[in-house]
C-alpha cells in the first residue's frame, strides 16, 4: 500500500456524520443510542436528516433500501470532501469497492411480510406461490437487495467506471475492500478509489438469530453489543497525485492484513493481522478496536492487543458510543482515525505519534487490521 493516502471522508452514523465529533463523543463516553420498540438500546440513524437530494437522484430511490442510502450518502460525502469532481479524472480512472452485510434491512423484510399477509389473507395459498410472489415482490427487488447495491448506485450516480467489487462480512469486509482498493492505487491501475461500507444490524431476524446463537446483541439485562446501522466511506489516491492537485490529505495507509483462523482462535488471527499491519513500526499506535461489548469478542481483542503491545494498552472502541455497525464499523473507524490524524489530535490528548491501528473481527472467521499514519 506504498504511497496511498486518504483524501475524502464520509460517515453516516447514529452519532452523526462528522468523524471528529464521533471521536469527541467517544472520548466523552456519550453514547448515541435510543430505545427500540421493545425498549432495548439501538443505534439508529436519523434518516430524515440525510441530504438525499444531494447524492441520489429521485428516480433511483425506489431501487434503494434504507441501508443502501446510508452507503450512498457516505460515499457522496467522501467524494465531495476529496474534491474528486474537480480533479478532472476520467470515469475509467476512478473505481469503487464496497463492503456490506447481506441483508437489506428490516424495512424491506417487514414491508414484504405485510404485503404477503394481505394477499395471503385472500384465500388458500397452496399452489398459488407464484401469484402471491408477483403480488408482493417488486420486479426490481433483486437489485434492491444486492449487497453491491450501494456501490453500484454510487458508480452510476458519479460515473465511476474503474474497478469495482463488493466484499461481504460483518467484521472484516470493509478492511478487505480498503486494502484491495489501495492495491489498485499502488499498482497504478486506478487514479482514485472510493471505498464504502454500509450495514444494519437493526433487523428483526438478525436480532433473533444473534440471540439464538449467543451472538452477543444487547437485550434487556444482558451484556452484549448494541445493534446499530450506518455507513462510512473514504477516497484513496496516490500521494504524489493527491499532493500535486492540492487535495487535503487526512492520512496515509501504512500497512494492513487479513488473517484467517483455521483453528477458530480469532484472537490469534487478530494478533497476526495486527502484527502484519504494524510492519516494522515500533511501539503502540492508538488502537481503534473492534470491541463492542460482546464478552467473547472483547476478550479476544484484549488478549491480542496485550500480547502485541503490552498489557493494558488502551483500546478505543467507537462501538461503545455508536453501536455495532457490522460491515461498516471498521471503515467508520478508519474515517475517525484518518480525521484525527489529519487534524493532528485525538480528543483527550492520546498520542497519534505512532499512527492509528484499526481492527476488525467478524463472523466470516477471519480478522483484519489496517494501520494509518500522519501524512
Amino acid at each position: 500500500m506504498t504511497g496511498v493516502v486518504v483524501t475524502g471522508l464520509g460517515v453516516v452514523s447514529p452519532g452523526g456524520g462528522d468523524p471528529a465529533a464521533l471521536a469527541a463523543r467517544l472520548d466523552a463516553g456519550t453514547p448515541a443510542f435510543a430505545a427500540d420498540a421493545a425498549g432495548r438500546p439501538a443505534g439508529r440513524v436519523d434518516a430524515d436528516a440525510l441530504p438525499l437530494d444531494r447524492y441520489l437522484p429521485r428516480k433511483q430511490r425506489k431501487l434503494v433500501s434504507r441501508v443502501a442510502t446510508f452507503g450512498i450518502v457516505a460515499a457522496g460525502r467522501a467524494i465531495e470532501t476529496a474534491g474528486l469532481r474537480a480533479a478532472g479524472l476520467a470515469p475509467r480512472d476512478v473505481g469503487i469497492f464496497g463492503a456490506a452485510g447481506i441483508r437489506p434491512g428490516s424495512d424491506r423484510l417487514v414491508a414484504r411480510l405485510r404485503r404477503a399477509a394481505r394477499v395471503a389473507a385472500d384465500g388458500p395459498t397452496a399452489g398459488r406461490a407464484w401469484d402471491v410472489y408477483t403480488a408482493v415482490v417488486d420486479p426490481m427487488d433483486l437489485l434492491v437487495s444486492m449487497a453491491s447495491s450501494p456501490a453500484d448506485h454510487t458508480a452510476v450516480t458519479n460515473a465511476l467506471r474503474g474497478a469495482t467489487c463488493t466484499y461481504i462480512g460483518r467484521g472484516s469486509a470493509a478492511l478487505v475492500a480498503l486494502r484491495e482498493a489501495a492495491r489498485r492505487i499502488a499498482r497504478g491501475e486506478q487514479r482514485a478509489m472510493v471505498v464504502l461500507a454500509s450495514d444494519s444490524l437493526l433487523d428483526a431476524w438478525w436480532r433473533r438469530l444473534a440471540g439464538a446463537t449467543d451472538g452477543g446483541l444487547a437485550d434487556a439485562g444482558r451484556a452484549g453489543c448494541v445493534p446499530a446501522e450506518g455507513a462510512a466511506a473514504v477516497v484513496l489516491e496516490a500521494e504524489p497525485a493527491a499532493r500535486a492537485r492540492g487535495a487535503a490529505i487526512h492520512a496515509r495507509l501504512a500497512g494492513g492484513a487479513t488473517r484467517l483462523a483455521p483453528d477458530g482462535d480469532v484472537a490469534e488471527a487478530l494478533g497476526r493481522a495486527m502484527r502484519a499491519a504494524r510492519g516494522a513500526a515500533a511501539g503502540a499506535p492508538l488502537v481503534l478496536g473492534c470491541s463492542n461489548g460482546a464478552p467473547a469478542r472483547d476478550r479476544a481483542e484484549r488478549r491480542a492487543v496485550d500480547a502485541l503491545f503490552g498489557a493494558g494498552t488502551p483500546i478505543h472502541a467507537t462501538r461503545r458510543v455508536v453501536g455495532e455497525l457490522g460491515a461498516a464499523g471498521a471503515l467508520l473507524d478508519v474515517a475517525v482515525g484518518a480525521a484525527a490524524l489529519g487534524a493532528g489530535r485525538w480528543p483527550g490528548g492520546a498520542s497519534l505519534a505512532r499512527g492509528v491501528l484499526v481492527n476488525a473481527l467478524g463472523d466470516e472467521g477471519f480478522a483484519a487490521a489496517v494501520r494509518l499514519e500522519a501524512a
Binding site: L109, R128, Y133, H153, R161, T166, Y167, E189, P262
Partner: protein
C-alpha cells in the same frame, strides 16, 4: 515485485455432477444438463426447468451452496497435492464468492401459508417475530437459518479444511463475482502477500425465491416446451438464461514455489481487470464501453496482444441483450482478431451458475487449453445476425491454443475479464 501466478488445482461441482472429468466429458460431447426442476414445486411457476446438481441431499439454498463450495474446494485442494507442511499456513489464503443463499422454497410456501392465517395486525416487528417463531424451528433451526444471514462463514470453513491462516476475502456481487474473488486471490500472490490461494465461487439459485426474482425481471428463459435446448446463446431464438447451480474452485500458487515443488501446473494466470458500466443497475451499457475497457485492461495486465489469443470463453448468458452486447465488446476490444477467434459459451450446457459461473468456466477454459479442444456453444442452430463471431456451434472443435480470455458481465454493470496462458 510482480510474481507469476500458477493454477495448480481445479475442482468443480456442476449440473453434470462432481468433478472436473465429468464436467469436461459432458461439455466435449455438447450435452445439456437442463431438466425439469425437482428442487421445488413449480406449480403455477412460469419456468419449469433448470440445471440442478444431481446427488446432493441438501435442499436449502444455503446448505447447497455451502456444500458446493466445500466439495469443489476439496477437489481443487486434492488436485494441487500440496504436501503438508511445505507452505507456512499464514501464506495460504481463501477468497470466495458465495451467492445469495436465500430462503428455502419450502420456507416461502410455509411463510405465505402462515401469513394467510395471521390475524395479529400490521405491527412490523411483531409480524417478523411471529414468522420467525413459526418457521425457524421447522426449517432447521437458527444454525441452518444462519447460513442465509451469514454465508461468509463458508470462507472460514474452507480455511479450516485447507489449514489456511493467511488472507481471507468474500465477494458478493452478481454474475462476475467469482472472477472478482479470483482476481483478489491472484493479486495477493502477485504482490507477495500469499503463496497459495484457494479461490472461486459457489451458488444455488435453483429455488423458488431465487428463480422468481430473475423470472420477474424477464431474465430467465420460459421455453418450457424445449427445456433441454433452451440455453442457446447467440441464437436468434434465445429468450433468456437457464438457471444453474454449482461451485468452482481453483488453487492459485506462486509460480516459483509451484515449480520448485514439482507441482503439476495447469495454466498460468496472466492478468485480469474489473470495470463498471456506471450506466443502469439492471442493464449493461448498450455500447459496452466499460466492458471493452475491461478486456483491454486485462490484456494489458497480461502483456498479451489480441492476436495472441486462441480462445474466448464468453459470458454468453443466452439473454437477448448480453449476447449482442458481448459480441460488440469483443469486436471493440479485440479488433480484427475477434473474427478469427473461436468464442463459445458453456452456459449453453450447464446454465448460469451465477456466483459460481466465472470460476467453473475458468476451469473449463483451462481444461480446454490443455486438451486442445474448444467446447461448443450447444443448441446454436440459427445465429442472431447481430452476433457475428465464430461461436463453435453445436460441436466441440480440436484447436490448439496457448492464450485464452474469460469474460463475465453482470447486474450493476459489473465487468470482469481474465487472461490465462498455457504453462510454459
Amino acid at each position: 515485485m510482480r510474481r507469476r501466478v500458477a493454477v495448480t488445482g481445479l475442482g468443480v461441482v456442476t449440473p453434470f455432477g462432481h468433478g472436473v472429468a465429468r464436467l469436461w466429458a459432458a461439455l466435449e460431447a455438447g450435452r445439456s444438463a437442463a431438466r425439469p426442476i425437482t428442487l421445488f414445486d413449480t406449480t403455477s411457476f412460469p419456468v419449469q426447468f433448470a440445471c440442478e446438481v444431481p446427488g446432493i441431499d441438501e435442499r436449502a439454498p444455503g446448505q447447497r451452496t455451502r456444500r458446493f463450495a466445500l466439495d469443489a474446494a476439496a477437489e481443487a485442494w486434492a488436485d494441487a497435492a500440496l504436501p503438508p507442511g511445505t507452505v507456512d499456513p499464514e501464506r495460504i489464503g481463501v477468497a470466495l464468492a458465495v451467492g445469495y443463499t436465500g430462503l428455502d422454497s419450502a420456507w416461502f410456501a410455509d411463510e405465505i401459508d402462515f401469513l394467510g392465517r395471521w390475524r395479529g395486525g400490521e405491527d412490523g416487528a411483531a409480524l417478523a417475530d411471529a414468522v420467525w417463531d413459526a418457521l425457524v424451528p421447522a426449517h432447521g433451526g437458527p444454525e441452518t437459518f444462519g447460513l442465509f444471514l451469514r454465508p461468509e462463514t463458508v470462507v472460514g470453513e474452507v480455511a479450516r479444511r485447507c489449514g489456511a491462516a493467511g488472507p481471507g476475502a468474500m465477494v458478493m456481487t452478481s454474475c462476475p463475482a467469482s472472477a472478482q474473488a479470483m482476481a483478489t486471490a491472484a493479486a495477493a500472490i502477485r504482490d507477495g502477500e500469499a503463496d497459495v490461494m484457494v479461490t472461486g465461487g459457489a451458488d444455488s439459485m435453483v429455488n423458488f425465491l431465487g428463480m422468481a426474482a430473475f423470472a420477474r425481471m424477464q431474465a430467465l428463459s420460459r421455453n418450457n416446451a424445449e427445456w433441454e435446448t433452451a440455453s442457446r446463446p447467440y441464437d436468434r431464438r434465445r429468450d433468456g438464461f437457464v438457471m444453474g447451480e454449482g461451485g468452482g474452485v481453483v488453487v492459485l500458487e506462486a509460480w516459483e514455489s509451484a515449480v520448485a515443488r514439482g507441482a503439476r501446473i495447469h495454466a498460468e494466470w496472466l492478468g485480469a481487470a474489473l470495470t463498471c458500466d456506471a450506466y443502469r443497475l439492471s442493464d449493461e451499457h448498450p455500447d459496452g464501453v466499460a466492458a471493452i475497457d475491461a478486456v483491454r485492461r486485462a490484456l494489458a495486465d497480461a502483456g498479451v496482444a489480441p492476436g495472441d489469443l486462441g480462445y474466448v470463453n464468453a459470458h454468453g448468458s443466452s439473454t437477448p441483450m448480453n449476447d449482442r452486447v458481448e459480441t460488440r465488446v469483443l469486436h471493440g476490444a479485440l479488433g480484427d482478431a475477434a473474427r478469427r477467434l473461436p468464442v463459445s459459451s458453456t452456459k449453453s450446457m450447464i446454465g448460469h451458475l451465477v456466483h459460481a459461473s466465472a470460476a467453473v468456466e475458468l476451469v473449463t477454459t483451462v481444461v480446454a487449453m490443455n486438451r486442445g479442444v474448444v467446447p461448443p456453444t450447444a443448441h446454436l442452430r440459427e445465429r442472431d445476425p447481430q452476433c457475428d463471431l465464430d461461436y463453435v456451434p453445436v460441436e466441440a472443435r480440436a484447436h490448439r491454443f496457448a492464450r485464452a480470455l474469460k469474460t463475465s458481465f453482470g447486474f450493476g454493470g459489473i465487468n470482469a475479464a481474465v487472461v490465462l496462458g498455457a504453462p510454459a
